[in-house]
C-alpha cells in the first residue's frame, strides 16, 4: 500500500504539470483550431526568464512567477502578431509549420541568451528541501507546492473562461468563429488573446516545475510531448479533459514504472492513449456536436 501511495503521489505531481502544458495547448487549439507546436518552447523560454529573474536578479519567487507569466503572455501575443496574423488566412498546415518555426527560434534565442552558463541550470527550491511526513507518506514540500500551484492556476483559468467577458468571447469564437464575427466579436483579437493565454499558462507551468527539475534549452519538447498526449486524451478542446488527461498520463507512467518495469514508463501513457482513442476517438471529455437538420 505504501508503494502504491508513493507512486500515486509522484504520478499526480508530474501529471499536474502535464495537465498545465496540455491546458495551454487546448486553450490555443480551442480558439484558433491550431496545435501550437511551440508550446514546449514557450515553457522552456519562460522557465529561463523565471530563472533569470529569481536567481540572477534576486527577485522573490512570487514576483518572478508573476513577471514570467506576464512575459509569457506578451511573448504569446507578439508571436501571434508577428508570425500568425500575417498568414492567418492561409491553410492550417502553414499555421502549424509557423508554430514549429517559432519553437526553433525560441530555442535558438535561449541558447544565445542563457547558453554557456552551465549544462543545466538549477532553480532553488521555494520550500524546504527536506522531505516531510504526510501520514506514512514521505513527500518533498516542493511537490506539494507545485500541486497546490497547479490546482490554483487551473481554477483561475476555469473562472476566466466561465466568468469573464474575454473568456466567454474565446469560448464563443471556439464554438463558431464565423458566428462570433457576425455578432461583433473581434476574432483576430481573440486569437491574439488565446496565444497570449496559452503562453502565460506555459510560463506558470515552467516556473512551478523549475524547482523540481533542471532547466536546459531542450526541456520543452519532452513536456510538450506529454502535454500533447494529455490534451489528445482529453479531447483536444476540453479544458477539464486536458486536466484529466494530464493526470492519467502522469499516474500511468508512475504505476507502470513501479509495478511493471521502468523501461515501460515512457511507453505506458501512449498505450493508454491508443486504447482510449480506439474506444473513444474524440477523447475522454470531448463530444461530437449533433447537428439538427
Amino acid at each position: 500500500m505504501l508503494l502504491f501511495s508513493y507512486l500515486l503521489m509522484s504520478g499526480i505531481t508530474t501529471g499536474a504539470l502535464y495537465a498545465l502544458v496540455a491546458l495551454g495547448i487546448v486553450v490555443v487549439n480551442k480558439a484558433t483550431g491550431v496545435i501550437n507546436f511551440a508550446q514546449g518552447e514557450f515553457f522552456m523560454f519562460t522557465g529561463f526568464v523565471g530563472w533569470m529573474l529569481h536567481v540572477q536578479f534576486g527577485m522573490n519567487y512570487p514576483l518572478s512567477f508573476l513577471l514570467a507569466v506576464t512575459v509569457g503572455f506578451l511573448l504569446g501575443t507578439l508571436t501571434d502578431r508577428i508570425a500568425f496574423r500575417p498568414i492567418a488566412k492561409t491553410d492550417i498546415v502553414s499555421l502549424v509549420l509557423a508554430t514549429v518555426g517559432i519553437g526553433f527560434i525560441l530555442k535558438g534565442l535561449a541558447r544565445v541568451i542563457w547558453g554557456g552558463k552551465a549544462d543545466y541550470l538549477s532553480f532553488p527550491p521555494i520550500t524546504s528541501p527536506e522531505p516531510i511526513m504526510v501520514g506514512s507518506l514521505m513527500v518533498i514540500p516542493q511537490q506539494l507546492a507545485v500541486l497546490a500551484g497547479t490546482i490554483i492556476i487551473m481554477l483561475i483559468f476555469a473562472a476566466f473562461f466561465r466568468l469573464t467577458r474575454a473568456g466567454k468571447m474565446m469560448q464563443a469564437t471556439a464554438d463558431n468563429s464565423r458566428a462570433a464575427l457576425l455578432v461583433g466579436i473581434r476574432t483576430d483579437r481573440i486569437y491574439t488573446l488565446a496565444f497570449g493565454t496559452g503562453a502565460a499558462i506555459a510560463a506558470a507551468a515552467a516556473v512551478l516545475t523549475a524547482p523540481l527539475t533542471l532547466l536546459y534549452p531542450d526541456i520543452g519538447f519532452a513536456f510538450f510531448l506529454k502535454g500533447f498526449a494529455a490534451a489528445v486524451l482529453g479531447g483536444l478542446t476540453s479544458l477539464p479533459g486536458a486536466v484529466l488527461g494530464g493526470l492519467i498520463v502522469g499516474i500511468a507512467e508512475s504505476l507502470a514504472g513501479g509495478y511493471i518495469h521502468s523501461s515501460v514508463m515512457e511507453l505506458s501513457p501512449f498505450l493508454v492513449i491508443m486504447i482510449v482513442l480506439v474506444l473513444r476517438p474524440t477523447g475522454l471529455l470531448s463530444f461530437r456536436k449533433a447537428r439538427r437538420v
Binding site: S10, T209, S254, S262
Partner: protein, 391 residues
Amino acid sequence: MRKRLAGPTTLFAAAFVVSAATAQTPGITADTIKIGTFGALTGPGYLYGKLPMNGVEVVFDEINRAGGIHGRKLQLVREDDRCDPTAAIGAVKKLVEQDQVFAIIGGGCSNATFAAKDTLEASKVPTLIFASVHDGITTPPAANIFSTATTSTIESQAQLAYAIEQGAKKIAIISMRDSWGRARYTPLIEAFKAKGITPTADEELSPDANDATAQVLRLKAAGADAVLMLLYPKPAAIFIRDAQKLGFKPLSLGQTGIADPAAFEEQVGVPGATANFRTISQVRYTPEDPKMDKWRKLVEAKFPGDRLSVYNLFGIGSAEVLVEALKRAGKDLTREKVVDAFANMKDFATEVYAAPITCSATDHRCNKGPAWMAKEPGGPIKVLGFTVVGQ
C-alpha cells in the same frame, strides 16, 4: 683524397635526403611544426572543444618558450566542428588538405569525432583525441588515431571495479538507453559477465525524467548497496534527490557525463543528498588544486576572462602526450615516427592524468586509469584515487 671526401659527402647526402623527406612532409619547416585541432568552438559543446584547445595552446606556448621541439616551434590551427558530424568531417579535411597540418590533436563531441574517423584514418595524419569518449573512435584501432580520453568502455569497467573495491555486494544499474547510455550500458553488462556477477537490479531513466520515484523504490526493494549510474547530470540529479527523499542511500557512481561534483551538488539541491556520490574524472586534479596553479596562471593570462576548468586540463594532458611523442620521434620528423612513438608509449606520466599513459600497436586507448572524485556536502571536491582497467 677520395677517402677523405667520402665522409662529408655521405653526411651531406644523408642531410639532403632527410631535409628532402621533411620538406615533403606537410606541416613541417626547419623551425615550425603545424598542428591542427578540431572541436566545437561555438555552441554548448565548446566545453569539450574550445576549452581543451586552450589547454593545448598553453602547453605549446610553454614548449615554444623553452625553444620548441628539436628547434621547431609548435603552431596550432583551430577548426570549429560545432559538435556536428558533417562539420567535423569538413574541419578535418580542411586541416589536412588546406592547412596541411603535420599532426592533429582534438575531438570534442563523440559523435562528431566518430563521424570524422574514416577521414582521419585515410589522411594518415597522426591524431590524438583529447575529449571524445566514443569507443568506436579507438576500437577497432585505426593505425594513426590514439586517444587520451577515457573511453566509455573504460569508464563502465572502472565503475564496476570501484564498486567491488568498495565492498559492494549488491550492485545495481540505472541507465539511459539513448545512444550515449547504450555505449556505456553494453560494455557494463559485459564487465558484469566477465566477473561472473549479475546486476541486482537494472532500471532505466529517461534523459528528460522529472521524477525517479518508481526507479528508486525498485532499487531499494532489490536491496542494492551500490548503484552504477549511466546518466546525464539532469536525470542523475533527479534520481539522487528522490533517493534521498525515500531514504535510499547506496554508493552512487557516475561517469564523466557528470564531470563537476560541485555543479552536481547544486543541481540536486537537497542538502546531504550527494554524500555517497562519486564520479569519474579523466584527470586527477580539480582546477582549484594548488598543483594546478601553474596552469591556472597560464590559462588565465592567455585567455583573459577564462577560469581554469577541468576541460582545459583535458587539453593540457593530451598536449603533454603529443609533445612527448614529437620529442621521441626525433629531429628527423616523419608522421610514421610519431605514430610509432604513440604506439610505443609506456607508463608516461603527465602532470594531470591519474594513471601513466600507455598505448600499444593494438590498443590505442592510452588513458585507462580514470580518477574518482567526490564532494563532501558543503565541502571541497576531493580526488579519492584511480582505477586502472583494461590492461
